[in-house]
C-alpha cells in the first residue's frame, strides 16, 4: 500500500483522505470567519464539546505510548522492545501535534496561546500546568523523532547529537507526561457538582495517569498490528519476534488494567457512592468499568498465559475504545449529567467532521514519515544504534 511501492498518488485511500482533510480545512475556515457558534453546538452551559473532549483530552491519552515504551526501553533497559520505540514515539509526536491543532481550532483567540508564558501567567490553574507541559513535551517528542529524520537525511553529526540526548529526553518526557496526564484529570477536581459522582473523585488525577499507561500500551499493540501489515515490506522482525513483543505488552497492559480497576473501585468506596450503581448512570458506569477495564484485563491475561498474540491485539483495540469512552464520559457524557435533556450537549456535524479530518491528517502524516524514514526498520548505516 506504500506509495513508494506503487508510485500512484491517486489511490482510493488517498482520495478519501484528501477529501476528508479538505472538508475539515473548509469547516475550520468557516469557524474562523463566523465564530464558534456557527460551527459547533457549544453553549453557555456546555462550553467544552467534542473538540476538547476528544481532540484534546482523548488525543493526549491515546498518544501516551511514546513515553511508556521509551521509558521501558531506555530507563528500564527492556531492549526487546526497541523495534517498537520509534513507531511509538512517532505516534506520540503526531498525536500531540494533532492535539495542538484541535486546541487551536477550539480556542476563542488561539493567536493568544503563548500569553500565559509571555504576558500574564495564571499559576493557580491546572490548565497552566498542562499548557506548559504539553508545549515542552511536544518539543521533547520532536527531538526524539529527529534521529530517524537525520538518519534519512544523512546528517551524521546531528544524528550523534540527538542520539546522545535520548536518556535525558526520555526522563524529561516521563516527568512531563506524569504531570500533564494526571493534571488533565485534575481539571475536573473543581467541578464536583457537575461531573457525575461515579466518575468524580479526589483521585481523578491518579485515574487519568493509570489509564494513560493502559492507553499507551494498548495503542502500541493496536498501532503495531496495523503498521506491521501496512509496512510489512519494511519490517525486519520475524513473526515470532513480533508476536513475542505483542505478548509481552499484553502482560504489562493486563497488570496496568488490574491496578486501574482496583483504584477505580476504591474511588467508589472512598466517596461512598455505591448507591449510584443502582441507577441508570450506574449501569453505564459498570459498562465502562466491567466491560472496558475488567474484561480486557482478563483477556490480556489469558492472551499472555496462552501466548495468543491475536487475542491480545483484539483486546488492544477493545481497550482503546474503552479509553475513548472514559474520556468522553468525563468530558461530555457524565458532565452536566443533571441538566435536563434539552440542555445537554450533542456534537454538531461540523465538529465531528473536523475531528475526523484531523485524525485522517495524522494517519497521512504517519504514513508519509514511515515510508521514508527508518521508523519501521533500521537504517543500514546505523544498525544496532537505535
Amino acid at each position: 500500500m506504500s506509495q513508494q511501492a506503487t508510485g500512484r498518488i491517486l489511490t482510493p485511500f488517498n482520495a478519501i483522505a484528501g477529501a476528508l482533510i479538505l472538508l475539515g480545512g473548509g469547516i475550520t475556515l468557516y469557524r474562523f470567519l463566523y465564530g464558534l457558534g456557527a460551527a459547533t453546538n457549544l453553549t453557555h452551559l456546555n462550553p467544552w464539546g467534542l473538540w476538547i473532549g476528544f481532540d484534546v483530552m482523548t488525543g493526549v491519552v491515546l498518544a501516551a505510548g511514546g513515553y511508556v515504551i521509551s521509558t521501558a526501553v531506555y530507563i528500564f533497559g527492556m531492549k526487546e522492545y526497541k523495534p517498537i520505540v520509534r513507531p511509538a514515539i512517532l505516534t506520540g509526536f503526531i498525536g500531540y501535534f494533532l492535539v495542538v491543532v484541535g486546541l487551536v481550532i477550539d480556542l476563542g483567540r488561539p493567536w493568544r496561546l503563548p500569553y500565559p508564558f509571555v504576558v500574564q501567567a495564571g499559576p493557580t490553574s491546572a490548565l497552566f500546568e498542562i499548557a506548559l507541559c504539553v508545549a515542552l513535551y511536544l518539543t521533547t517528542l520532536f527531538v526524539e523523532t529527529t534521529p530517524a529524520a537525520f538518519e534519512w537525511l544523512g546528517w551524521k553529526r546531528w544524528r550523534k547529537v540527538v542520539g546522545a540526548m535520548t536518556i535525558a529526553m526520555t526522563i524529561f518526557g516521563l516527568i512531563l507526561s506524569t504531570l500533564h496526564q494526571s493534571t488533565l484529570g485534575a481539571m475536573y477536581l473543581i467541578t464536583p457538582t457537575k461531573l457525575h459522582p461515579l466518575w468524580y473523585s479526589s483521585h481523578i488525577p491518579i485515574h487519568f495517569f493509570l489509564s494513560s499507561v493502559v492507553s499507551g500500551l494498548s495503542m502500541v499493540i493496536f498501532e503495531s498490528m496495523l503498521s506491521h501489515r501496512v509496512f510489512h515490506d519494511q519490517v525486519e522482525l520475524s513473526k515470532e519476534q513480533f508476536d513475542n513483543i505483542t505478548i509481552g505488552l499484553g502482560k504489562a497492559a493486563s497488570i496496568a488494567l488490574a491496578i486501574y480497576f482496583v483504584v477505580k473501585v476504591m474511588g467508589v468506596a472512598l466517596d461512598d457512592d455505591w448507591h449510584y450503581l443502582a441507577t441508570g448512570w450506574g449501569a453505564w458506569f459498570l459498562v465502562e468499568l466491567l466491560g472496558f477495564v475488567l474484561l480486557p484485563c482478563i483477556l490480556y491475561a489469558v492472551g499472555f498465559r496462552e501466548r495468543r498474540a491475536g487475542l491480545i491485539r483484539l483486546t488492544g483495540l477493545w481497550t482503546v475504545i474503552g479509553i475513548i469512552l472514559n474520556r468522553l464520559n468525563i468530558s461530555i457524557i457524565a458532565f452536566n449529567w443533571q441538566l435536563p435533556s434539552e440542555a445537554r450537549y450533542v456534537p454538531h456535524w461540523m465538529e465531528i467532521a473536523v475531528t475526523i479530518s484531523i485524525v485522517t491528517f495524522g494517519l497521512v502524516m504517519f504514513r508519509w514519515i514511515a515510508n521514508r524514514m527508518p521508523i519501521m526498520h533500521e537504517h543500514p548505516e546505523y544498525k544496532g544504534m537505535h
Binding site: L36, A186, P192
Partner: protein, 361 residues
C-alpha cells in the same frame, strides 16, 4: 436555568460527599484562614420581596449597553419557560414556584455571585479574573485566550461566552457595576428594584441585616442566609421563604472553596519535578549497572569456559601425541623385527644354498 431539582440535589449531595471524603485540601494556605478584603461590598437578594417585575434586567442591560430584554416586562407568560443567562443577558429573573394556596409566586434573580474565592479566577491560566478589594470579581478581556475553562468551572453557571464573535469573543458576566460602585453609586439592579428585594451594602453588614430579618419574621424566612459560607461564601446572598433547593441554589454545600480542591493536587507538581529526575536517573544507572554486571559475568564465564576448553584440549593433545608416539615406536619396532627376521631368513636360505653347492663338488 433549567436544572431538574432531583438532579441538582444529586449533584450537590455528590459535591458535598466528594468534598467531605477528600482530606481537607491543604495544598495551599496551610492551616491559614483567608477572611478576604475587609469592608468589601455585597448584595442581599430577598426573594420574599421579589415580584418578578424584571426592572433589574432592564437596568442591567442599560448600564452594560446591551440590548434590552426582548420579551416584554409586563408579560407574565415570560416565566413559563426557564430563561438562562447569556452573553446578551447578564442577569435573569425566573419563577421557581407558581402562585397558589393564597401564597404569591416566588421569583429569584440570577447573576454572577462574585464569590469570595472565585472558581473562574482560580482556573484562568492567564489570570484574567481579579477579586477586587471592593468585592466585585472583574474580567480582563485583553488577556483572555478564550479557553472557556471559567465557563466550564463556575458552579453557578454564571458565565457566558460570545460564540458568535469570530475575532473578539469575550466572556460575559455581571460585573456588580464596578465602575458605579467606584463612583459611590449602587449597582444598576439594586437602584432599579422598586420592592427593595435587592439591598447593596457592606457584606458584613448585610449578613447582620439578613439575620435580623429572619429573627424578626421567622414565619416568612427559611433560617439560612445562602451565600454566607457556601463554597467559601459569595458576595450575593439570598434569603428565601421556600427551600433553597427549589430555587436551584446548593444550600448546605461545603464551606470549602472549590479552588482548594485544585490547589491540593497542584502541590504534587513540584514534588514530581524534585523527585523524578534523581529517581529515574537512579533507576537508569541501576539498570545499566545490572546490565554491565550481567555482561561481565557472561564475559568471565566465557573466558573460563575457554580456559577450561584450552586445558582439556591440551591434555587431549598430549594424550594423543603420547599415543601416537607409542604407536609409532611400536610400528618401528615391528618393522625392524620384520626386517631383521627377513634378513635372517635370507641369510639362512643363502647359507643353505651354499651348503648344498659345497656338497656336490
Amino acid at each position: 436555568m433549567s436544572i431538574s431539582r432531583r438532579g441538582f440535589l444529586g449533584g450537590l449531595a455528590a459535591g458535598a460527599g466528594a468534598l467531605t471524603a477528600t482530606k481537607k485540601a491543604h495544598g495551599g494556605g496551610g492551616t491559614r484562614d483567608f477572611p478576604g478584603y475587609p469592608g468589601r461590598f455585597g448584595l442581599l437578594h430577598d426573594t420574599t420581596l421579589c415580584v418578578g417585575c424584571r426592572s433589574c434586567e432592564l437596568a442591567c442591560s442599560e448600564v452594560n449597553h446591551l440590548p434590552a430584554p426582548s420579551l416584554p416586562l409586563k408579560d407574565p407568560k415570560v416565566f413559563d419557560v426557564r430563561r438562562e443567562l447569556s452573553d446578551k443577558q447578564l442577569t435573569v429573573v425566573n419563577r421557581y414556584r407558581e402562585a397558589g394556596d393564597g401564597k404569591p409566586a416566588v421569583y429569584r434573580k440570577q447573576q454572577c455571585m462574585h464569590c469570595n474565592e472565585p472558581c473562574c479566577a482560580s482556573v484562568c491560566f492567564v489570570r484574567a479574573f481579579t477579586k477586587t478589594p471592593e468585592g466585585p470579581v472583574l474580567y480582563d478581556p485583553s488577556v483572555c485566550v478564550g479557553c472557556r475553562y471559567c465557563v466550564m468551572a463556575c458552579p453557578y453557571y454564571a458565565l457566558s461566552y460570545e460564540y458568535d464573535e469570530p475575532w473578539t469573543p469575550r466572556v460575559m458576566r455581571c460585573t456588580m457595576c464596578y465602575d458605579r460602585i467606584k463612583d459611590n453609586k449602587q449597582p444598576g439592579c439594586a437602584e432599579a428594584c422598586p420592592m427593595g428585594a435587592i439591598t447593596f451594602g457592606r457584606r458584613e453588614e448585610l449578613i447582620t441585616v439578613a439575620r435580623e430579618r429572619i429573627r424578626k419574621h421567622p414565619e416568612r424566612y427559611i433560617d439560612h442566609v445562602f451565600g454566607e459560607h457556601e463554597f467559601g461564601g459569595t458576595s450575593w446572598m439570598v434569603l428565601a421563604g421556600i427551600p433553597f433547593e427549589e430555587l436551584q441554589l446548593p444550600a448546605g454545600a461545603t464551606h470549602t472553596p472549590l479552588p482548594e480542591l485544585t490547589s491540593g493536587f497542584l502541590g504534587v507538581v513540584p514534588l514530581v519535578l524534585s523527585i523524578y529526575p534523581g529517581l529515574l536517573l537512579g533507576i537508569y544507572a541501576f539498570t545499566q549497572r545490572k546490565e554491565r554486571m550481567s555482561q561481565e559475568e557472561l564475559n568471565s564465564a566465557v573466558a573460563e569456559a575457554m580456559e577450561r576448553a584450552d586445558e582439556e584440549t591440551r591434555q587431549k593433545l598430549a594424550a594423543a601425541t603420547a599415543k601416537a608416539t607409542k604407536d609409532r615406536d611400536k610400528a618401528i619396532q615391528l618393522a625392524v623385527k620384520k626386517a631383521l627376521a627377513g634378513e635372517e631368513k635370507k641369510r639362512k636360505e643363502a647359507a643353505a644354498a651354499a651348503g648344498e653347492a659345497g656338497e656336490t663338488k
